[in-house]
């Protein structure tokens, strides 16, 4: 079967909306209800955060959501339990995002195999070095048809962007500025970087993440690339929510309309 991420980009090249939410947040068993609501109200892709005690690339909002999820009892084993059978209800592509340590302990091949079994389409591990992926894990990901998605930043050299693009599958994750998630850096300064990405003729679709929080920033990102990823703003929108479905509807409605 063709990977769902590839199917998505074959059908839709513009304005792809990827929403990040932390698994087991706000409550342990909210993982599936949040995903269902995201699909229902128009997210094209779902990025599910695997909570970690020491998430170096994340700002305080996403870290706090992970801390809360861990307190709720979330773990990799719990997450796979929750995802067991989710493809009966959810057809949009799903990506797991997390850090390398829990995956190493789980066993990289066991983890990728499990992802394929439950129906996860891609994985983002920001602290997995490119060279180690290429030497040790690329074959495993390919064997199970699970895509690994790499990040690039405004400081990444052109040669390195091409290398990361050649190893990445599904799409390339373009970090909008040199920052952790949830920082308010002015996106207008990134215009030159976005234009540079546009001109590089990359083999993968590109989604912009970090600092995308509302309609204006989403539209700006979509002007240059295939779409964008929203995380921190979405976490804030559901952290106090009494009614997940209506919070998700309101949030996505404000982005898309």
């Amino acid at each position: 079967m063709q990977n769902r991420i590839d199917q998505l980009f074959a059908a839709k090249q513009h304005g792809v909306l990827n929403i990040y939410c932390t698994a087991g947040f706000p409550e342990l068993n909210d993982t599936l209800p949040v995903m269902t609501a995201l699909q229902q109200h128009g997210a094209d892709l779902i990025e599910l955060g695997m909570p970690f005690s020491d998430p170096l690339a994340d700002g305080p909002v996403i870290q706090d959501s992970g801390t809360r999820a861990l307190k709720n009892g979330m773990s990799l084993h719990k997450l796979f339990e929750q995802l067991d059978g989710f493809r009966d209800r959810i057809h949009v592509p799903v990506i797991l995002m997390g850090y390398l340590n829990p995956v190493l302990l789980y066993g990289v091949e066991a983890f990728v195999k499990k992802c394929a079994e439950v129906g996860v389409d891609g994985i983002i591990l920001p602290d997995l070095p490119m060279a180690e992926y290429e030497a040790d894990y690329k074959a495993v990901f390919e064997k199970y048809n699970v895509h690994l998605i790499f990040l690039v930043t405004p400081e990444t050299t052109e040669a390195r962007i091409h290398k990361l693009d050649s190893l990445s599958k599904g799409f390339l994750y373009a970090v909008s500025s040199s920052s952790t998630t949830g920082k308010d850096k002015d996106m207008s300064h990134q215009q030159a970087y976005f234009e540079r990405l546009q001109q590089l003729k990359l083999q993968n679709p590109v989604l912009i993440g970090f600092g995308i929080k509302d309609k204006a920033t989403f539209d700006t990102a979509c002007r240059y690339t295939n779409g964008a990823i929203i995380g921190t703003a979405f976490i804030k929108a559901i952290e106090q929510s009494k009614d997940i479905d209506s919070s998700v509807r309101t949030f996505i409605g404000a982005i898309k309309n």
Binding site: A57, P60, N101, P126, T153
Partner: protein, 402 residues
């Protein structure tokens, strides 16, 4: 000086890819790649530069007060029936070995054209050493410190502020050293161009473990010269050092790593007992994984979440160890022991009364194991006395009457 010595033939030093055996590497998110890559490419060039070495050496001599004495501890030797020498890092400016590294790294930062310095600190010793060199060089200094540690170590917070540093509370996670390190790394992600991160221990992504070990290697370079003068041989039978992340041990072991005749002993913090659930004995309790962008041994849950260690000594309660030490443990090159809070306190009292030296609680862990190593009467033993105990007086006093 030998800080840029060629170690490519060594079995225990870093390899060209930044690994010690299967430990080490640089597991950094792309946002940090340019910073770490720049350091990897340039650190040896800078450390090899004669003008760098000259400036480093002259500051170590005239500002830090090096060489630090190698003191023959007569009464301690009588008690433990061996020839025990103390490497007096406690006599350095700011009271510990930490300043060796911060002097070196701030000179490196200047050569890389950086104008702003960040650092993490647990007990505050590395924070003070960083704030000190920033004052010396007139550079902006931001120190991240867990909010729980800020309360526990108030005098060092005041020292850093008096030296002109900004102390930022790390309020995420468990609010101690590991979280302060996370916050420092995040600051670096957000300020990739003008900022240098002075990491305080021999951990973190390559090249930090090697760079910090080299800057601390003056300790063993001096020990060799001083022992030759005092005993006629550069080689002791034992070198003993405490280990949290492992910077003083890395410095004390550095020039002895490939001298098989020298036994290396690393002492971890056993806390209330290795299996009490309140310990920082990483080699006993840890498994391989990634912490602060290095592959090494670390304490973690079955789900791979990094756990919070415990020790009476704020400088040893780190849930990992530097990758060099993980390799020394795995290869059996160094012997790893652990000392409990109680043993360390008793050793601190003992050194105070036998030799008139109040050791840092960290260093007291190293001293605590003298009773457990089966010495021969003519064995020459060097203990790295990594810091002085002034900062720990409250802890000592609290336990004085127990």
């Amino acid at each position: 000086m030998d800080i840029a010595i060629d170690t490519s033939k060594s079995r225990y030093q870093v390899d060209k890819n930044g690994y010690y055996g299967r430990f080490g590497g640089a597991y950094v998110p792309e946002m940090l790649f340019p910073n770490v890559d720049e350091l990897q490419r340039k650190y040896m060039e800078v450390l090899s530069d004669p003008s760098f070495q000259q400036e480093f050496e002259s500051l170590l001599r005239d500002y830090v007060g090096r060489p630090s004495p190698l003191y023959f501890a007569k009464r301690l030797s009588e008690k433990y029936k061996a020839k025990i020498y103390l490497k007096r890092e406690d006599l350095n400016h700011t009271g510990a070995h930490k300043i060796n590294n911060t002097i070196g790294q701030i000179l490196l930062a200047k050569r890389l054209g950086k104008s702003r310095i960040i650092a993490e600190t647990g007990a505050g010793q590395h924070g003070v050493a960083t704030a000190t060199v920033c004052a010396l060089m007139g550079m902006e200094c931001v120190v991240y410190m867990g909010s729980i540690d800020i309360e526990r170590q108030a005098p060092n917070v005041s020292r850093m502020k008096m030296l002109g540093a900004t102390v930022v509370a790390a309020t995420s996670g468990s609010q101690t050293l590991k979280d302060a390190t996370n916050e420092a790394i995040r600051d670096w992600i957000n300020n990739p161009v003008d900022t240098h991160y002075i990491l305080g221990t021999a951990a973190g992504p390559h090249p930090y473990p090697d760079m910090v070990a080299r800057l601390q290697s003056v300790i063993s370079e001096e020990i060799r010269k001083q022992l030759l003068e005092k005993t006629g041989s550069e080689l002791p039978d034992y070198v003993v050092a405490c280990i949290g992340g492992g910077s003083n041990a890395a410095g004390a072991f550095f020039h002895y790593l490939d001298e098989d005749a020298v036994k290396l002993v690393a002492v971890e913090a056993g806390g209330k007992g290795v299996h009490s659930g309140h310990s920082a004995a990483t080699t006993q309790l840890g498994k391989i994984g990634i912490i602060h962008a290095a592959k090494t041994l670390l304490m973690q849950t079955e789900d791979g979440q990094i756990t919070e260690p415990y020790s009476i000594s704020a400088g040893l309660d780190y849930p990992g160890i530097g990758p060099m030490h993980a390799h020394l443990y795995e290869t059996g090159r160094a012997m790893f022991l652990d000392a409990t809070d109680e043993e360390a306190l008793a050793a601190g009292y003992e050194l105070s009364k036998l030799e008139g030296i109040i050791p840092a609680m960290e260093s007291a862990h190293a001293l605590a194991k003298l009773k457990d190593i089966p010495f021969n009467a003519d064995d020459v033993v060097v203990v790295c006395l990594s810091g002085r105990g002034d900062k720990d007086l409250n802890t000592y006093i609290r336990h004085m009457n127990k």
